[in-house]
Amino acid sequence: MTSFRPTPGQERWMLVAARAGIQRDAAWLVERIEGWTAVTALARYAFFILGVFAAGLIAVVFKLMSIPQYLLLTGLFLVAAAEWLIVQRRLFGAGIEEALELAGLLMIALQAVMNPVESLEIRASLLLALMLLAAGLRLLNPLFTTLSVMALSGAIYFIRARHTGGHISAATMASVFSFAVACAALYAGKVQFRRPSYDRMLNWLIIAMPLAAYVWFKAANVPGLSGQASRDTWSLHVLPMLMLMALGGAALTAGIRRRVHAPLIAGIVCAGCIAYELRNLTTLPLKFKLIVWGTTALLLTVGLNRHLRTPRRGITSKKFAEGSGSLDLLQLAGASALAPPTVPRPDAPFKGGGGTFGGGGASGNY
């Protein structure tokens, strides 16, 4: 038994209990989980937000009390509080300990780069990557490890830019690094891990790093930033397209073969980047491009959905109840966000509800 963090076996039992909807307080399961506590996804987000808010307020209080090196002290206090919650209260993935640990480590990093020194940006991005990695590995949190790798790609950019003085080569280097990490994560995804959180870390990298690679690549080719003549079509458009196609194809194949969702989503991300890159293929205005591409994607997806209604080699488009309640809510919020905005008439100011107060057709003043 360890108090440091759950063993792989305990973590697996926690995951099974969550998926199968079994109460962790059941005596049989308590023996296997040994007191480790997790919460639902929604509660985790709420605790994380409250934790970050509390961490910020502690820093404000220390600052207003004019405590020297207040960020360092706040950081140490927050890390100690997070460790107490993990070791003594045995929290794992509860949100609050993650918020405190991350905020604490970042405040320590911020204190370290407060004094203006030479190559501040390199030091800051490296420290950020290091602290995020420490938090990610300590808490087995895939978001933190992914952000750490992204910060590292930023550090590579700054180091390269400092040594060569060129924006293009530095951003290209960061793009290549991100792409290499995505490929490595996709390859490593076939390894059988006992600890589920290692899988989640790789999955997040598989999804996020192709996008990071593409964003760095686009940054390398911003004319205003580079100040250099744009390169030929091959290196500017064709090469990244080929790379994204290869990665997207490999990800889709791996996802279908391994029956894993993350590579499939990575394939969709790569397809989105390719579609964006192909936007200048025609001279159509943006609005028509959006409508044509959107309609094409919609029809293809509806066709795929129909095709997979009958399972094909076990793959189906039917829904399985695997705790997607929060995604259902997110979908409803997303549908509301797509609603077209109110079209105000220039000659008539908006009067909510037809009246000055209350709405519901009320027209009298309150």
């Binding site: 697996r12 995951l15 099974v16 998926r19 199968a20 079994i22 307080d25 059941a26 049989w28 919460v39 929604l42 709420a46 605790f47 934790g51 808010f53 509390a54 307020l57 209080v61 207003l64 076939k190 059988q192 589920p196 391994r258 969702h261 499939l264 989503i265 969709i268 205005p285 943006l286 028509f288 959006l290 409508i291 309609t295 994607a297 919609l298 997806t301 509806v302 959905n305 129909r306 399972p311 076990g314 189906t316 488009s317 829904k319 995604l327 979908q331 409803l332 509301s336 797509l338 609603a339 905005p341 109110t342 079209v343 908006f350 009067k351 909510g352 509800g353 037809g354 709405g359 519901g360």
Partner: protein
């Protein structure tokens, strides 16, 4: 990759998981069944978002070459096509797929864009132009009930909120000089209307899924309204009282029905509102920050305790 098959087998052997559920879970672990439902949903959402972004630009540009009447007709035809597919599925008594759901959503969104554009061009409603939002809300509600679509219902509720004058991102409510800041009462009126709608729906034995959508919209709009009132000096006291009452009602509902999200709404929105009020009324920054810290800490502890109480009640 990892497989939880041994754990599921052990659970089944211990009698904690029924044989059918265990065999289903094991089939999923082995990849014998693999659902791409979420990937398809993501792709459908992205496609509809792209189409609506394009339509938004099209409407905004006004298209002198095409003309408003042609554009209105084209949008209406496209919307009718989407509705037609959903109506045909309904008449055949078939279950609509996720693809059909999003086609219907696209139809509803196109109809919204079309009616808004037509009103801005033809001024059918004269000075009462904002009533087109209420007309849309009613049309979408009828379609949502007739075709059993939660997505269309959420579009209807958004139109209704727009008619009440509540539109735009939530953070705008807390920004100084934002017109939405004065719409706290409108948001509360909209939330009250949704609450009455939800009661009618419940009494007429409507579906549970629709009731949930109405409750979530009503809760969020109510809390946004209360927060908006809390951020303004003239209405702070009223806002605070409404916020506390809403938080209490939300937590009570969550605890009674084991709906965790309503407990979270009550505590998180309540804590945010209290912090806003504390920051405004306390002149001393240190005192305000310490009180806010105490409020957030209390919110964490209370949320944790309520979580435990819900778990205990569920057993």
């Amino acid at each position: 990759m990892h497989s939880l098959e041994p754990e599921y087998r052990e659970l089944n052997a211990a009698g904690l998981l029924e044989a059918s559920a265990a065999s289903r879970a094991i089939a999923l672990e082995r990849g014998e069944i693999f659902s791409v439902f979420e990937e398809i949903r993501l792709a459908l959402y992205a496609a509809v978002a792209a189409i609506m972004a394009g339509v938004g630009l099209l409407v905004k540009d006004n298209l002198d070459r095409i003309g408003p009447l042609t554009l209105t007709m084209v949008l209406a035809l496209a919307a009718a096509g989407c509705y037609g597919i959903a109506i045909r599925t309904r008449l055949r008594r078939e279950t609509r797929s996720i693809g059909g759901d999003y086609l219907l959503l696209l139809g509803a969104l196109l109809l919204s864009a079309d009616v808004g554009y037509a009103e801005s061009q033809f001024h059918w409603l004269g000075s009462q132009w904002s009533w087109y939002l209420l007309i849309l809300a009613v049309l979408h509600a009828v379609a949502a009930y007739a075709l059993d679509s939660r997505l269309v219902l959420s579009v209807s509720l958004t139109s209704l909120a727009g008619w009440f004058g509540v539109e735009g991102p939530m953070q705008n409510l807390l920004q100084a000089n934002d017109p939405l800041r004065n719409s706290g009462f409108n948001a509360l009126a909209c939330a009250s209307t949704l609450f009455i709608w939800r009661e009618l729906h419940r009494r007429l034995l409507g579906t549970l899924e629709f009731k949930e959508v109405l409750e979530h919209f009503a809760a969020n709009l109510g809390f946004w309204g209360a927060l908006a009132l809390c951020s303004s000096a003239n209405t702070r006291l009223v806002g605070l009282v409404i916020l506390i009452l809403l938080a209490f009602a939300s937590v009570r509902k969550g605890l009674q029905n084991s709906e965790e999200l309503f407990v979270i709404y009550g505590i998180v929105y309540g804590a945010i509102g209290l912090c806003v009020v504390e920051a405004h009324i306390l002149a001393d920054k240190l005192s305000a920050a310490m009180l806010e810290l105490a409020t957030v800490t209390a919110a964490v502890i209370v949320l944790w305790r309520f979580r435990h109480r819900m778990k205990a009640a569920a057993e």
